[in-house]
């Protein structure tokens, strides 16, 4: 039975604040992400959700506050192979880039393999397994630029899974994707969370769909407004539609 371990915090954010120049984007944010959770981090444009994600991933450093991953301060954190990431606009990469689906998914193994070491049969097997999980194994020799947007999304999830991470962050993964593909995509994420015990953090502004899929919802507007179960969020959203 899949469950969230509230005692095991994969991510801990304490009083984090961040400004671009003099413009404060995040103010005093506190958030814990538990093992096994499927958390939707939602908010409107400029709410700071992508900035918060970049702080968690070590791409930005907060001017104030602390962030730890797996109990370790992010400044000394090195076990990046425990983290999977599907970036915003992942599918708006250069369509002429000469790489097959297999080559792209293998990139997800590079952090685990380490510098100066070439890929092994184990890496290839892990990449194949990840492609199988997202139903894209048959396309492994196809050029990534030849796939549809929905198929590319699956490949990028496979790349994140190939590294055998414990948590996967997805930044606005369904922007510009049609509804039927979105539904399929969310079903896939739910399956990953339930069957693989993968902790999922989904950054999005697609509030209603996500509230039906995620277990918890964190609402951000420069600071954390709510962090509650999806059911609580939906109930509140019904009584206060402006939220």
């Amino acid at each position: 039975m899949h469950r969230v371990d509230h005692q095991d915090n994969i991510v801990e954010i304490l009083n984090a604040s961040f400004s671009y120049g003099g413009n404060e984007v995040l103010h005093n944010v506190n958030l814990n992400i538990h093992r096994g959770d499927y958390l939707a981090l939602v908010g409107g444009n400029g709410s700071g959700k992508t900035t918060l994600l970049k702080i968690i991933l070590g791409l930005l450093t907060p001017q104030e506050g602390n962030v730890s991953l797996f109990g370790q301060d992010i400044r000394s954190f090195r076990a990046w192979e425990r983290i999977g990431y599907v970036p915003q606009k992942a599918t708006s990469f250069d369509p002429l880039f000469p790489a097959t689906v297999e080559e792209v998914v293998l990139m997800g193994r590079y952090g685990r393999r380490g510098l100066l070491r070439s890929v092994t049969d184990t890496d290839r097997a892990a990449a194949e397994h990840a492609l199988e999980q997202v139903g894209m194994l048959a396309e492994r020799h196809t050029l990534i630029g030849s796939l549809s947007g929905g198929q590319q999304q699956r490949v990028f999830i496979a790349r994140a899974l190939a590294g055998e991470p414990e948590i996967v962050f997805l930044d606005e993964p369904t922007v510009g994707v049609e509804q039927s593909v979105k539904d399929e995509f969310y079903a896939l994420l739910k399956r990953m969370n339930e069957e693989l015990d993968l902790t999922i953090v989904l950054v999005t502004h697609d509030l209603v769909t996500v509230a039906h899929e995620a277990m918890h919802v964190a609402v951000l507007d420069q600071t954390l407004q709510f962090h509650e179960s999806a059911a609580q969020y939906l109930a509140r959203a019904r009584s206060h539609p402006h939220l």
């Binding site: 097959t100 080559e103 293998l106 990139m107 510098l115």
Partner: protein, 276 residues
């Protein structure tokens, strides 16, 4: 003069050796520069290398060595300026390109370097390559190929997505700096083959041509190697047979290969679309 007769001349054999070394090396660096949209770096470094050549004339030491030193120092400067993010990447390149050329002209005027020897550096002159040059080129090329092989998978990932590579724990800034440093060495090595003004063509065109074939990354690199070596060899032979500029002929052969590949690729694509 027949091909067999040409091979009886030591200078021609050395020209072929130097040509093959640089032809093998250029796409290995070029594929990453092109995919990272760094193509202009090759052009900038080649103009900067002219300042190095001029410095060699002035100090009366081998211009290839001074070009190597000046290009490497400039490469580090460009990368530092870009990484500092206080200036746009293209503006940093523009500063170094015009600065390099300006310094070259001043140094050349100081050392009365505007002479016929300058033309061999501007447009390439394989006949002047010595056996020592060939050994130096082979040694440096081997080092570059080994370093690229060591960081191959990281370079592929960074070229595809710098942000994702960073999240995977790959030291993106350090690997970018290594790539630019190796590009600087490649530019300096390519001077005798095509000359300062045509180096970027050698680095960019075979890769862009191979990309028309729509292959995997590994096969694109292999195809670029084939295009590069074949074009350089054909260019050397044609230029020697008809007494033409070697650098210019090589680049024109490369452009012809690009055009032919693009046309054939377009025709194959049309045929494929007409199939039921």
């Amino acid at each position: 003069m027949t091909l067999i007769e040409l091979f009886q001349y030591a200078f021609f054999v050395r020209a072929i050796e130097a040509g093959i070394i640089v032809a093998l090396l250029a796409p290995i660096i070029g594929i990453f520069l092109v995919l990272k949209r760094y193509s202009l770096i090759a052009d900038t470094l080649s103009h900067v290398s002219l300042a190095g050549v001029a410095l060699g004339f002035l100090l009366k030491i081998n211009p290839l060595l001074t070009a190597l030193a000046v290009t490497m120092v400039s490469a580090l400067g460009i990368e530092r300026l870009r990484a500092g993010r206080h200036i746009y990447g293209e503006s940093a390149l523009s500063l170094f390109l015009s600065g390099g050329l300006a310094l070259a002209t001043v140094l050349l005027s100081m050392g009365r370097g505007f002479n016929t020897e300058l033309f061999s550096y501007l447009f390439g002159s394989l006949v002047t390559v010595t056996q020592t040059d060939v050994f130096m080129m082979a040694g440096l090329a081997a080092i570059i190929i080994l370093v690229i092989a060591a960081f191959y998978k990281e370079l592929v990932y960074i070229s595809f997505s710098e942000e994702s590579a960073r999240v995977s724990g790959i030291p993106v800034d350090r690997i970018n700096a290594i790539l630019i440093l190796l590009s600087a060495v490649t530019v300096a090595l390519a001077i005798p083959v095509v000359g300062v003004l045509l180096i970027s063509a050698l680095i960019v065109i075979p890769v862009v041509t191979a990309m028309q074939l729509r292959l995997s990354f590994a096969r694109t690199l292999l195809a670029a190697e084939v295009y590069s070596v074949a074009s350089v060899l054909a260019g050397i032979v044609i230029s020697a047979s008809f007494d033409l500029s070697t650098g210019g002929t090589i680049v024109l052969v490369m452009l012809a290969a690009f055009l032919a590949t693009t046309l054939l690729r377009g025709r194959a694509h049309d045929t494929g679309q007409k199939r039921p």
